[in-house]
Subunit: 335 residues, 2 copies
DNA sequence: AGCGGATATGTTAGCGTTAACATTCGGAGT
DNA sequence: ACTCCGAATGTTAACGCTAACATATCCGCT
């Protein structure tokens, strides 16, 4: 391994100039003769000099580093948001300090302290669900942006998927295909995501002057529940011609059970999922039409707004990011 | 937001002592009168003082920060390793700088430079496959540990799953269940993971004095390929009584096709997957027996060895981490 | 020749912290 | 009373870098 790292002092003395001149040359400032700059650059290259970001940060008060605090990065949704954010930051000169609190408030506090101590320029808090989460922004001293899981303080900046709009798109698509007896199967009621999607279903149906086929079926975010719901629904209301499921897992179970009952998807029953979790949505048969929340874009957008907030141009409030309908075979036109 | 952050200077003057005394009091050193320490601690609390990690790092030359360089964190395998590492670090006082090179060598170089400039104490490089990857350790000046994807330099420290051993366990389990006509369906041949698992199959079978049922079927890591392989295999060799699949995706497709052909899993054909990707392995019917590579543990172990390497106790070479067989219904005893 | 001004280079303070060393202050020992 | 010692506290120099300011050099102009 290498010995001591080269400092600007080493570069300066190798180039035969003062450290101030070396600094100017390295930072591309004007008042340096071209030949001198050449010499300094050559010396830096020779010593493979890397400016010490700590010293620079200490002086400037800016670390060009942001914290990414996630409650549950093991979860399905944190990851893409995280990637989008990392992408937006990494493209520039920012670095990302990753902290996973594992859903533990104590650990979160601990991480927050560590991040603050490292003088991050800003913070992105990634939620594990779209439910409101406690704000951490109070007296923090650095700008914070919330992604996926919004802060309970309306003065904070939050970015969340527009689940109501996503559900509206899904149901409108079914209506446009001529389906009229549309059922809805979703996850647990304590998820805001589930409630929002139900609201979207109601909105779209009432605008079209339709009645929902039966009550919303609340359950779990699992394939098992999807299969179970399908069996119940085919029994109780054999006349349905479309189902909007609150997640791809539910939808995958649903189509499987429908197939086994000898009904055809999409001919007899069109099915739409939610999340566009590709391992499920593209591998079921038929492949699932589904709503994509564009989580990477959401993460990227949150990161960009964090930049803005660091520059003092914050945009308070909850921002709803549009979803996108990905059409596949499970709603192929039955024409 | 808060104004300027409090420094140790503010704490010292509020407590009416010199900064040296304040520093000693805050760092729990001996030569401070108890009453003085109390006063300093109270002042620090009052100002919610957080020591500036930059200043500390500049002085000590240690940042208590490590870089986590991943080639493809979107991938299936990087994430758990990353989490395990984050876990091991986060438990202590270390922070993790996350960089995703997106498989781009230029970007990787860029990130490497940024990490070095931030004076990380060490580096974990997480691969996207178990194939050898180019070493980055040369002349880096900080210890590096490779996780999942090993370095091509045998002097480096690498941690990889023992895929040969994993496959041996899987096949031995099938043999123990009394199966004798065992086939193997796996992914693309350019994956070392696939080749290692094939080697494990051959090893276990020859030790038991058995012949493999037909040639290994190379394909893709997809459900589609699993279904296709099942159809081919049931046609060409209807006498097989067990299949070991190179991934859960392949296995999920396989069991689905077997069921559709009216053969029963596990009664007619026992099936084992690989990866223990829970959304697949627990949701297929029957749930899959599969090999778990313990990736979180692998990540955590890599992190712990990075600590050791930072302390100068490196452990060069490729370390193979044992896998674990997770037994579920797809190999339930046919007794 | 002497001066002003532009250009290039050097000197130094300071960012916040810690460690090494210096100083002060009581009290015990002679 | 004086020294000596240890405990408690204070002063200062780094760490590596940049920005503000100071100095040097050279040129053309009056």
């Amino acid at each position: 391994m290498a010995g001591r790292r080269a400092t600007i002092n080493d570069v300066a003395s190798l180039a035969g100039v003062s450290i101030a001149t070396a600094s100017k040359a390295l930072n591309g400032r004007q008042d340096v003769r071209a030949s001198t700059r050449q010499r300094v650059l050559a010396a830096a290259e020779e010593l493979s000099f890397q400016p010490n970001a700590l010293a620079r940060g200490l002086l400037s008060g800016q670390t060009r580093t942001v914290g990414l605090l996630t409650s549950d990065s093991a979860g399905r949704f944190g990851i893409p948001v995280l990637l989008g954010a990392e992408d937006a930051f990494g493209a520039g000169e920012m670095a990302v300090l990753l902290c996973d609190a594992r859903g533990d408030a104590i650990r979160e506090q601990h991480h927050l302290r560590a991040l603050l101590s490292r003088r991050v320029d800003g913070l992105i808090v990634v939620g594990e669900s779209t439910n409101l989460r406690p704000s951490v922004s109070r007296d923090l001293g650095v700008p914070v942006v919330y992604a996926y899981g919004p802060s309970d303080d309306p003065e904070d900046v939050s970015f969340v998927p527009d689940d109501v709009g996503g559900a509206v798109m899904a149901v409108n698509h079914l209506i446009a295909l001529g389906r009229r007896r549309i059922a809805h199967v979703t996850g647990p009621e304590h998820y805001k995501a589930a409630r929002d999607r139900v609201a979207g279903v109601e909105l779209a149906l009432s605008e079209a002057g339709l009645e929902q086929a039966g009550e919303t079926l609340w359950g779990a975010w699992s394939q098992r529940w999807g299969r179970h719901a399908a069996e119940m629904l085919l029994m109780a209301q054999p006349e349905i011609d479309a189902v909007f499921c609150g997640s791809d897992q539910v939808a995958a179970g649903f189509v499987e059970a429908v197939r086994e009952r000898g009904r055809r998807v999409p001919d007899d029953i069109a099915v739409i999922g939610y999340d566009n979790w590709e391992v499920l949505s593209t591998e079921t048969r038929p492949a699932l039409t589904t709503v994509d929340m564009n989580l990477e874009l959401l993460g990227r957008t949150a990161a960009q707004h964090l930049f803005a907030a660091i520059d003092g141009r914050a945009t308070p409030g909850v921002h709803r990011m549009p979803c996108q309908l990905v059409i596949r075979d499970s709603t192929a036109s039955s024409a």
